[in-house]
Amino acid sequence: MSARVLVGVKRVIDYAVKIRVKPDHTGVVTDGVKHSMNPFCEIAVEEAVRLKEKKLVKEIVAVSCGPQQVQETIRTALAMGADRGIHVEVSGKDYETLGPLQVSKIMAALAKKEEADLIILGKQAIDDDCNQTGQMTAALLDWPQGTFASELTLEGGKLKVVREVDGGLETIMINMPAVVTADLRLNTPRYATLPNIMKAKKKKIANVKPADLGVDVTSRLEVLNVDEPAQRLAGVKVETVEDLVGKLKESGRI
């Protein structure tokens, strides 16, 4: 198959890091904080690599939007098995306000430019939890979408997607080209091994600006305030059942 896959990878604050709100409440502290690839994007890359290993896909292109540092994230995707990367340069204020609408416009433009047959994205990013980019990209391209995928198979030029939904699992059949978003149980991402990490250093990452793709990244949203969730108060221990009932009555619970 001569399919080309576009995989979006987002650089986010590492899952294990403790998040701190900036003193001016405009956002969270990102300076000097450990970042890594969004876990759902890792799963997306892994799925693309597995499709390539099964010879169902010819080329994997990893895409990330952001400042210079996102190149690390693209390199990780290359080390996992992607063939080349595209770095869409967005920095400063534009980067701070970059959201799913802008990214999906960029992905749609790249899909057309690169003549992609399949776009695989993580279902959501762990920093904003938007869960919108995949769906918006499909809408902009007027392509079918298979979101929350926990299983993906190619059957006679169509995609069979098993989706995780509230009631259980839903299986759908969609035409290609399509957009798929990866859910947790789609696969377990591989570790990038040293030989691949070395090879990845030689793979190409192209630089592109949103303007080159005809995309305007100005945001229509304004963040008013960012706060930590309310502190959970310590519990109170009581000695007897009577005390417990008394306290519950006091606080108006019963």
């Binding site: 590492d14 899952y15 294990a16 890091v17 000097g32 450990k34 890594s36 377990t188 591989r190 570790y191 990038a192 091994t193 040293l194 030989p195 990490i197 070395m198």
Partner: protein, 534 residues
């Protein structure tokens, strides 16, 4: 031989029953309650009984408990004193006492009936003064994670727990000196320090449970010793309560202090036999800004050693850990804990950690090193992690080997220091020597420090296997002038093997010091010092 005279005077008919499923523990044979180490379970698969008869029979295992010394027994009057001193913190409920009476490996169990939980040094002092007067034996207990049976009572010693002495007293952000009570859990201290941009100078697999007081009294080594040195260097001061209740305050928080004999060094590593540590002041390093972990595979131990040399040369000052495990360990991790091997199967695996203040600088050094070892084929495969979640995953492959082994049945553990080149020779020799008698013979450990953790498993406790292992392993170690206990200490299990690594004059002097500091011998009896000295 002069070493074990006491074993020729053993009382009659003692029964030892072992099982690897010790979820339901009951003490067997209350009439022979002076005998410890009795564990039975309703899920015995295979058990062996070792009967020790009177003189004339072969001596029982030197690692087993000696007869009970003539300490007093706890009376109602004693309990009244303790409950007045520590209201609500004098535990006598057998169910609550259970977990404090048995060690982490579930191989040693005592019959203590009293667990005390003091909150202050003053309370510890009063407890010990009283116990010394009454001639009551005391077993100090921290997180109870020790591996040589040193942290639990052998008979009915009163358990003195530091679990409520968990306050940080002071932290100086400029010098990095932390002063805290002995019952602080290591992991909690790490989290406290991380907020302030510092870390503890030691790290070990038991960090979620072990207390800093216990770490100091056992001179714990751990995963960071290669970089930050041992507790003998990083502990700056101690507050210790002596056997008669006197409080020895050597809690200076000073980097340099050459005024007289350095008494704290006596207590570090004394395993609770010379005094009870109640507070510690320790020098903490700055938290590294960049931590990387590489997991590598080597096809021979020789190549592993050459990788170590290359590592030392190319990574130099940023190297913070160099650990190894063998293919047998990996198999057990996959089998019992369902962990995945991130690289291709190899005979040996190395975990390398770098820690530095500049990510770009460290990564460049690390990548150059990795390119070098891959190109020269010293290393056959590997992976690198810079993100916290991945780093944790790679470290768990080394840190959880001990846990994986507990699922294999009974484990014979040996913690040996040897010249680095000889480390794996011992593992291979043991494999050859034991043949089919052992189910697994695995080797892993702090190869950078010359410290091997040799573990041998069998479905259940097997005296014939034990007889084949010991004293062979200790003689082998002694031949190469190694230590029979690199970091785990002697506790109950290894006390009588001290002579393999220390001369009789040295041990005799240890006995004199013990006699001077604890004339009645109430502090953690039956531990550390061999039976002929106690």
């Amino acid at each position: 031989m002069g070493i074990f005279p006491r074993f020729t005077r053993l009382p009659l008919v003692s029964t030892f029953i072992w099982s690897q499923y010790s979820s339901a523990l009951t003490a067997v044979g209350r009439e022979t309650s002076d005998r410890a180490l009795i564990v039975s379970s309703s899920q015995l698969i295979q058990h062996r009984c070792v009967h020790s008869r009177g003189s004339g029979a072969s001596p029982a295992n030197p690692g087993d408990a000696p007869p009970r010394s003539p300490f007093s027994r706890v009376t109602q009057k004693d309990l009244a004193f303790f409950t007045t001193l520590l209201p609500g913190r004098t535990i006598t409920d057998p169910d609550l006492l259970k977990s404090s009476n048995i060690d982490w490996l579930k191989t040693v169990q005592g019959n203590s009936e009293v667990l005390l939980r003091p909150k202050t040094t003053e309370e510890v002092s009063q407890i010990l003064r009283y116990c010394n007067d009454r001639n009551l034996a005391v077993c100090p207990q921290g997180g109870n994670t020790g591996l040589v049976g040193g942290s639990v009572p052998v008979f009915d010693e009163i358990i003195l727990s530091t679990s409520l002495m968990n306050q940080v007293m002071m932290f100086d952000g400029i010098s990095g000196i932390l002063t805290c009570q002995a019952g602080c859990v290591l992991e909690n201290l790490s989290h406290y320090l991380e907020e302030k941009d510092f870390i503890m100078p030691l790290d070990l697999g038991a960090k979620g449970s072990c207390h800093i007081g216990g770490n100091v009294s056992t001179n714990a080594g751990g995963l960071r010793l290669l970089r930050y040195g041992s507790l003998r260097g990083t502990v700056l001061g101690l507050e210790v309560v002596l056997a008669d209740g006197r409080v020895l305050n050597c809690l200076a928080a000073l980097r340099k202090d050459n005024t007289g004999y350095d008494l704290k060094q006596l207590f570090i590593g004394s395993e609770g036999t010379l005094g009870v540590i109640t507070a510690v002041s320790i020098l903490c390093p700055r938290k590294p800004k960049a931590v990387n972990v590489a997991f590598l595979g080597c096809s021979s131990f020789q190549q592993l050693l050459e990788t170590f040399q290359c590592c030392r040369g190319m990574l130099g000052e940023i190297l913070s850990a160099f650990e190894f495990l063998d293919a047998s360990c990996m198999k057990l991790l996959e089998k019992h804990l369902k962990l995945t091997n991130p690289i291709t199967e190899s005979p040996f695996y190395i975990v390398i950690e770098t820690a530095g203040s500049n990510a770009t600088h460290d990564e460049e050094k690390l990548h150059n090193f990795l390119e070098e070892v891959m190109a020269s084929s010293l290393v056959t495969d590997g992976t690198v992690a810079t993100e916290a979640t991945k780093i944790k995953a790679l470290w768990s492959l080394r840190e959880r080997v001990t846990e994986a082994l507990t699922h294999e049945g009974y484990t014979y553990k040996y913690d040996i220091s040897l010249p680095v080149e000889k480390i794996y020779d011992l593992v291979q020799d043991m494999r050859g020597h034991l043949g089919d008698m052992a189910k697994n013979v695995v080797g892993y450990g702090h190869v950078g420090d010359g410290n091997l953790h040799l573990n041998i498993t069998s479905p259940s406790k097997d005296p014939a296997l034990l007889a084949a292992i010991e004293p062979y392993v200790y003689e082998w170690t002694s031949k190469w002038k190694g230590s029979i206990s690199a970091e785990h200490g002697l506790g109950l299990k290894k006390r009588n093997y001290i002579y393999y690594s220390k001369s009789s004059e040295t041990v005799a002097l240890m006995g004199s010091i013990k006699g001077m500091l604890d004339p009645k011998g109430i502090l953690n009896p039956y531990k550390l010092l061999p039976d002929n000295i106690q």
